[in-house]
């Protein structure tokens, strides 16, 4: 069927609730209201109030409760309403979620999916446009994945729910309704920790994830017009990174530009640059360049296009990588 990203996520959730009697969804306004983005539309009607649960306004409490549920064999999926509203739950995620398998010497996993709509570009109020993936990717024991289109959104969701460990599933909300894609009736799980080459190329690799993928693809188009063949990587997993893929594209192109919406300092782009210069120094024809968000609060929305990595900025960086 033809689904946009938010519909695909709803479809994936329905598939999980259908297949796994221990699964359930917790969050604010996800029941009758179907979630502020409609991701859970119709699920409570279909699966009942016991499995699609409207929680009180208390992120630390219901994320903590999800952890407790997971300890006794349930497979909770939590929806955080917006980007910044995961912050009250950070203590539970840092001090607990990623630590139970380790605490128990590997014997008890803690299956848990935290769905987090994130990112700018939707003309939203303050704190509705944050990109906090860096924080989660630095927290031991958590996996962090970011889909970029309806199909991999569904496949990654199934993979996240099935991987046996806590996963932060980041949803680039500006892609929610970016047009529909043909997807199967049942999503198959993809690898939880692998990126893909979204467009092949030979001269420079543009590495992005989530909403930055379309920016990278558009930049590759522009570069093609300049006879520059740009390869585009869709990372999908930002912890762990797909090291083999990154090394392969570095070898293939010798030039890498990493694009992230999050602030620059200590972001994913920094990790990739550090990794490649460590392990592929001899393959690089130019420094790994970064196109990122700014080290400042995400601006109120009239200025957001100035703050977001743009096609022009990615193209400029790619060109710059030929000047070394």
């Amino acid at each position: 069927m033809l689904l946009n990203m938010v519909e695909a996520i709803g479809q994936g959730l329905a598939q999980i609730l259908e297949a796994d009697p221990h699964s359930l969804i917790l969050g604010e306004d996800i029941g009758v209201n179907g979630g502020v983005f409609r991701a859970t539309a119709g699920l409570q009607q279909r699966f009942g109030e016991a499995r699609v649960v409207d929680t009180p306004l208390a992120e630390a409490g219901f994320v903590g409760a999800a952890i407790g549920m997971s300890m006794v064999g349930m497979h909770p999926i939590v929806e955080i309403q917006f980007d910044a509203f995961v912050y009250p739950a950070l203590q539970q995620l840092i001090s607990h979620a990623g630590r139970y398998r380790w605490r128990t010497g590997g014997s008890y996993g803690l299956p848990l999916v935290v769905r987090l709509p994130y990112g700018g570009g939707t003309k939203a109020p303050e704190l509705h446009s944050d990109s906090p993936e860096t924080l989660f990717s630095h927290v031991p024991g958590l996996r962090v994945v970011v889909p970029s289109d309806p199909l991999n959104a569904g496949e990654l969701l199934i993979a996240a729910a099935g991987c046996g460990d806590p996963v932060i599933y980041m949803e680039p909300k500006r892609m929610y309704r970016r047009g529909r894609l043909e997807v199967p009736d049942f999503f198959a799980a993809c690898a939880i920790d692998e990126g893909v080459v979204a467009r092949d190329g030979t001269d420079v690799a543009l590495v992005g994830y989530g909403s930055m993928l379309e920016v990278c693809l558009a930049a590759a188009e522009e570069l093609a017009a300049e006879r520059v063949s740009a390869l585009v990587v869709d990372l999908r997993s930002i912890y762990p990174l797909d090291r083999d893929l990154l090394l392969r594209v570095a070898r293939q192109t010798g030039r890498v530009v990493v694009v992230q919406e999050a602030p620059r300092h200590c972001g994913i782009a920094a990790e990739i640059a550090a990794l490649l210069q460590e392990e592929a120094a001899d393959l690089m024809l130019a420094p790994i360049l970064r196109v990122t968000g700014m080290d400042m609060p995400f601006p109120l929305f009239q200025s957001e296009d100035e703050a977001l990595p743009s096609v022009a900025r990615v193209v400029t960086a790619a060109r710059a990588s030929f000047t070394y």
């Binding site: 306004d29 009758v32 209201n33 300092h265 080290d295 200025s303 900025r313």
Partner: protein, 343 residues
């Protein structure tokens, strides 16, 4: 639920005096005009998504008038217009809803905090502000706004408990409109009376009809004076009902029985107060109409002022983050290839 609200405190106009009653009505009307205008501006695309406060004019106006000009207000997204009752031009809060940074710059000088988006996180701020003023021996109190949903948050709990322990001169004004977006009070807490939660902190808790401007005024005033006299914080539950949607992006029909709100429309505060004024002979229809017109006039051409507001470049916004801007945000840096201006 109406039953519930009707248990809450009510006052007649006589207990408040003609002049004040009129001032309250004027303030309510100007809040209403701001709100209706904002909804229109949103539809016109002049501003972004906007949380209407239709029906909460009484409690909001009363909360401002019951306090001194130096007292601090800590609004949420639903009280963005209270600052206008302190003389701030309406375009300031509206610019924020337009996604323009100017929407915040000047509110602090009215002793109003920038609008707080994360639920309940403004409660500890108000506690600290009240406590800090007390430490400076200023006779200043702080009032924090919130909703029924905010009482489920740990920040509400930590703020109330801390305020009681340090006897901070703070007022927690929780407007119980029975809904947190689509979540009814019954899914939020097992306690039907939010004011009862004050007992957990050894704090005074009171209930007032949020549609009754006079009762809200006296209730906030009493709480503020108690705080000022060093008798500690108060939790006020202003009981009412959310007459409108949560915001312009919300569809109450999805989760609210049709007609649920209608029941409450009889409580709509502006007409109700107008009637009270007229019945008491404090105003006649003409005066009421004039007050409304004057308020409408004040905001009529705000749209132009919004559209004409010059937008600072991202480069200059970057200079507002730190007292001394680090190299990471310097204009030179932002001009490097692939960086913000460098594209």
């Amino acid at each position: 639920m109406i039953g519930q609200a009707s248990e809450a405190r009510r006052q007649s106009i006589h207990e408040i005096g003609d002049e004040l009653a009129l001032a309250l009505f004027q303030a309510m009307v100007s809040l209403r005009e701001f709100d209706s205008r904002a909804v229109i501006l949103q539809r016109q695309g002049v501003i972004g998504t906007y949380p209407t406060y239709f029906g909460e004019e009484a409690v909001q106006a009363a909360s401002v008038l019951a306090l001194e000009l130096d007292d601090w207000l800590f609004p949420t997204y639903r009280q963005t217009a209270v600052v206008t009752l302190r003389g701030c031009p309406p375009e300031v809060p509206l610019l924020m809803w337009r996604g323009h940074p100017g929407g915040w710059h000047d509110v602090m000088r009215y002793h109003v905090a920038p609008v707080c988006v994360p639920i309940a996180t403004n409660y500890p701020h108000a506690v600290g502000a009240a406590w800090g003023e007390k430490l400076q021996s200023h006779p200043t109190v702080a009032l924090a706004y919130g909703g029924d949903g905010s009482t489920s948050s740990g920040e509400f709990h930590e703020a109330c408990n801390l305020a009681a322990v340090v006897e901070a001169p703070v007022v927690f004004l929780v407007t119980n409109n029975q809904w947190a977006i689509s979540t009814p009070l019954s899914r939020q807490t097992r306690v039907p009376r939010l004011a009862d939660k004050a007992r957990a902190y050894g704090m005074v808790g009171v209930r007032v009809d949020s549609f009754d401007a006079f009762a809200c005024y006296l209730t906030v005033k009493e709480a503020a004076e108690r705080a000022r006299r060093g008798l500690g914080p108060t939790l006020i539950e202003a009981v009412g009902y959310r007459l409108g949607p949560h915001g312009t992006a919300d569809e109450p029909a999805m989760y609210r029985a049709p007609g649920a709100a209608e029941l409450w429309n009889t409580m709509e505060p502006i007409d109700r107060t107008a009637r009270a004024l007229i019945d008491a002979g404090v105003a006649d229809g003409a005066l009421v109409a004039e007050i409304r017109e004057r308020a409408a006039l004040g905001i009529r051409d705000v749209a132009d002022r919004l559209v004409d507001a010059p937008l600072p470049g991202i480069e200059s916004i970057a200079q507002t983050v730190h007292q001394v801007t680090p190299w990471t945000l310097s204009p030179e840096r932002l001009r490097e290839p692939g960086w913000v201006i460098g594209a």
